[in-house]
């Protein structure tokens, strides 16, 4: 049973940290051996989880959802109404997507997502978050100077575009719907999905490149 005792947790952090090996890989290997020896999980099960998040659950899922939103107005309406339900069409629901809001970029609005307090992210839909999303730099700066942050990602906004930064402070997760670029008329969903970048679904990319398909 957890004690939920904050002072005790802080004390244990200090105690354990001062006695642990400094090598992060060794620490995790030690923990893994212990969890396996104690019978909580097997090596093969851990392998399967790594494979799931390395090869199967990733931003291609989100890109498929965006491509359908671009080609199917009824689906886009449902995605904007309740994204958590709409992604079930694909079987992409799961970890951290029970409450999901899709926010749409327009000619006058750019959306950007951050979690300043930790690193909340819609894992089941976009997979593991990129390192920059978890970085102190992004978490500190995205809410305060989003235009400078975007410039570092190579994004500059025309004068008439405002930015809305969504700080994920609850169990609600966000998916940015980027604008469909010109020059993609008649494309099927697979071809469209191939030009949707992970960063565009977080809001640190804006003008998608049809040449990347």
């Amino acid at each position: 049973m957890a004690t939920f005792d904050a002072d005790e947790a802080a004390r244990l952090h200090r105690d354990l940290h001062s006695h642990l090996p400094s090598d992060p890989a060794l620490r995790v290997k030690t923990l893994e051996s212990l969890m396996v020896e104690r019978g909580f999980v097997s090596e093969a099960t851990l392998d399967a989880w790594v494979e799931a998040y390395s090869d199967h659950i990733g931003p291609k899922r989100g890109a498929s959802v965006i491509a359908r939103a671009w080609t199917d107005p009824a689906f886009k309406a449902r995605l904007l109404e309740d994204a958590a339900v709409a992604i079930k069409d694909f079987g992409f629901e799961g970890s951290a997507t029970a409450h999901l809001k899709a926010v749409e970029n327009t000619d006058t609005r750019h959306n950007m997502v951050v979690c300043t307090l930790c690193s909340c992210y819609p894992f089941a839909l976009l997979g593991m978050s990129p390192a920059w999303y978890k970085s102190f730099e992004y978490r500190a700066r995205a809410v305060r100077e989003p235009r400078k942050v975007l410039a570092e990602f190579g994004v500059s906004l025309p004068d008439g575009v405002d930015i809305r930064v969504w700080d994920s402070t609850a169990e609600l997760r966000y998916l940015v719907i980027p604008q469909r670029p010109d020059g993609t008329k008649g494309w099927d969903e697979d071809r469209l999905a191939a030009i949707v970048t992970r960063n565009s679904m977080i809001g640190t990319d804006r003008d998608l490149d049809p040449g990347k398909a």
């Binding site: 049973m1 904050a6 947790a9 802080a10 244990l12 952090h13 354990l16 940290h17 992060p24 890989a25 620490r27 995790v28 290997k29 923990l31 893994e32 212990l34 969890m35 020896e37 104690r38 909580f40 999980v41 097997s42 093969a44 851990l46 399967a48 989880w49 790594v50 494979e51 799931a52 998040y53 390395s54 079987g91 799961g94 029970a98 409450h99 300043t116 930790c118 894992f123 089941a124 990129p130 920059w132 970085s135 730099e137 992004y138 978490r139 500190a140 700066r141 305060r144 989003p146 570092e152 990602f153 190579g154 405002d162 930064v165 700080d167 402070t169 609850a170 169990e171 609600l172 640190t204």
Partner: protein
């Protein structure tokens, strides 16, 4: 708590390394730590307690350890504190008594478990919502020493209710292992309200805030 984790608006961190576009896990140990986190832990841990234990890392450790080492510390500390394992076991990596692990999960079973883990945090409201969309609200000026989801940069600020989400589990209580439900709102703030004259008046920031974080403005 006014911890080091509350990073929104903090200055001096410098440029973002925007180059990360590689594999989902940048090291093998990150992948193993993530897998351990998805398969082990205390039965009664809440998401809020997990986050609070990260926040309780001393600031120097929080700032100097890589992201998934902060998760490692939650497991080390959390497993000992919950009595799942002992300090000696965590530091030594050897179990006092060996037990047989459960049957291996296949990839298909893992993918299905992920799909079914869209756990809802919506709760039945016990009273009606105090605020309505488009209403002006002000956030509390003071936080408290426990876990809370009102960041420091948005305290004492006036914004407008954008959306009411019904009642959701309150993290401040969840971090203590208790259940409480409160209405949750997305609140929009102008950038100058949060940051002053340096901010671009075109821009806005939204936060998802529980009812007890807000008063009518």
């Amino acid at each position: 708590m006014d911890g080091i984790h509350d990073l929104g608006g903090k200055q001096g961190f410098g440029p973002i390394d925007v180059t990360h576009d590689g594999p989902p896990f940048s090291t093998e140990w990150e992948a193993r730590m993530y897998a351990i986190s998805q398969t082990t832990g205390g039965d009664d841990w809440t998401i809020d307690w997990f986050r609070h234990v990260i926040e309780l890392l001393p600031p120097d450790i929080y700032l100097n350890e890589p992201y998934f080492q902060r998760w490692f510390m939650v497991y080390a500390t959390g497993l000992v504190q919950s009595g799942v394992t002992t300090r000696a076991e965590i530091l030594g990596g050897v179990a006092a008594a060996k037990e047989t692990p459960p049957r291996d999960q296949t990839l298909a079973e893992v993918l299905e478990e992920v799909r079914q883990s869209d756990r809802s945090f919506a709760r039945t409201a016990t009273d009606s919502a105090v605020f309505q969309p488009r209403q002006k609200v002000r956030t509390l000026r003071h936080g408290h020493s426990g876990h809370t989801r009102l960041p420091g940069y948005a305290r004492g600020a006036t914004g407008e209710i954008l959306t009411h989400h019904g009642a959701h589990a309150l993290p401040d209580e969840g971090a203590k292992g208790r259940e409480a439900a409160e209405h949750l709102y997305t609140v929009v703030f102008s950038a100058p309200e949060l940051w002053g004259d340096e901010a671009d008046p075109r821009d806005t920031v939204t936060l998802d805030l529980w009812e007890s974080y807000l008063v009518a403005a």
